[in-house]
Amino acid sequence: MPAAALAVPRGDVDTEWDDNAAELSALLPRCAAGDHAALRRIYDLQAPRLKGLAHRITGSPMLAEDVLHDVFLHVWQQAGRYDPARGTPRAWLTTLTRYRALDVVRRAGREISTWDPPDAADESPDAVARLVASAEGRALEHCLSALDAQRRRMIRLAFIDGRTHAEIASTLDMPLGTVKSTIRRGLAALKRCLEQ
């Protein structure tokens, strides 16, 4: 089953990923020049991915749309200030969406007790298939797999589910200090692996 789920046409997907990256880079200056069609194109390329992310963090399709609304208005206004030195256009969009979604959730005062975390220590085969659809994703998945399960889970909970140190500690019923040091060591190991 996992083998089948992972059987993605890698070459094609990589090409598509690279094309999208190049196109996004070209679209941002056009947004800065006031070209609505350029923003619409970014929306067509990225909105489903970003809405999925916002939905995962906020747990609500309505809030996810509010997040995207704010993100795309921000992109329109700030496209001229986008600096490639601060990350790829895709990573910039991801960052804007995550932070906006986290703002919304934290302002709404999410109750940890009501949060229902994913049970599995690992993601579904479909999710992993999406992750490994790019060369960057494959490298990351490879290095995450090399971490012990606890570290891997904590990093994922933080990034994709938008959990703070305290929330992770509460969810996993571990002391805060242990969570912090475990994640730090996990990040260090991840970085070393990705830089090899």
Binding site: A33, R40, A47, R86, G87, A158, F159, R185, L190
Partner: protein, 232 residues
């Protein structure tokens, strides 16, 4: 544990924690402040953003609703640099292309409907109301009332701008439709139009600037926009 060599540059660790979103509000703002003057910290943040970005793909993509783009487009402030020309008729707007055929038909029908509607007494009761304002403005400029007989009355609350040689398009985007539907060309002093859809909350209603002649293939620039609120 993985053993030796796991102690790392504290700056890099901080950057990783910041990008993961682990820091509380105050600590995160502090990192952002420091990054404006600490180039290695800024570079470490960028590197972590790029490294972790593929993790976002673990969340399954969710198609946005039909109205989301419309909400965004309607709220775009004026372009930072003056646009040399109005938005081109043909672009990459998928939904527009898809809708061209049906909208062209709708445009022809709409002219007919405007002419055909008698200046008769209004329908007995209001089903819904929408207040339309210019994008970026909070002032209502047009009141639209959906009536129980399947018509809408459109009442300008101020003098509507009508550039030379243009017409005002009146559109709605019912939930059942993939694209906005042209209901007719709006006389500057308002009018009445048939609305062959159920009256539903939050249906976008808009007035656009359209060319003076010929069929209308897709909505022109939005002049006024509002959402329907069901009243009965």
């Amino acid at each position: 544990m993985s053993g030796a060599g796991e102690t790392e540059d504290p700056r890099d660790t901080l950057a990783g924690e910041y990008v993961l979103g682990l820091l509380d509000e105050a600590a995160a703002r502090d990192v952002e402040r420091r990054a404006t003057t600490d180039a290695p910290l800024a570079a470490a943040i960028a590197a972590w953003r790029n490294r972790l970005d593929p993790l976002a793909d673990l969340a399954p993509p969710v198609p946005p609703s039909d109205v989301l783009w419309h909400r965004i487009a309607a709220n775009l402030p004026a372009a930072p640099a003056p646009a040399p020309a109005p938005p081109p008729a043909a672009g990459n707007n998928g939904w527009r292309l898809v809708a061209i055929a049906s909208l062209a038909v709708a445009a022809c029908l709409a002219v007919f409907i405007w002419r055909d509607l008698p200046a008769a007494p209004p329908a007995p009761w209001a089903r819904g109301v929408a207040l339309l304002s210019a994008p970026g403005s909070v002032q209502a400029a047009i009141r639209v009332q959906a009536l129980s007989d399947g018509t809408m009355t459109i009442v300008p609350l101020e003098k509507l701008p009508l550039p030379d040689g243009r017409r005002l398009g009146f559109w709605a985007w019912p939930r059942s439709e993939k694209a906005p539907v042209l209901l007719g060309m709006l006389p500057p002093d308002g009018g009445q139009v048939r609305y062959p859809f159920p009256v539903q909350d939050a249906t976008p209603v808009m007035v656009t600037s359209e060319p003076g002649a010929g069929p209308v293939a897709a909505p022109g620039p939005t002049l006024f926009l509002g959402l329907m609120a069901v009243t009965s």
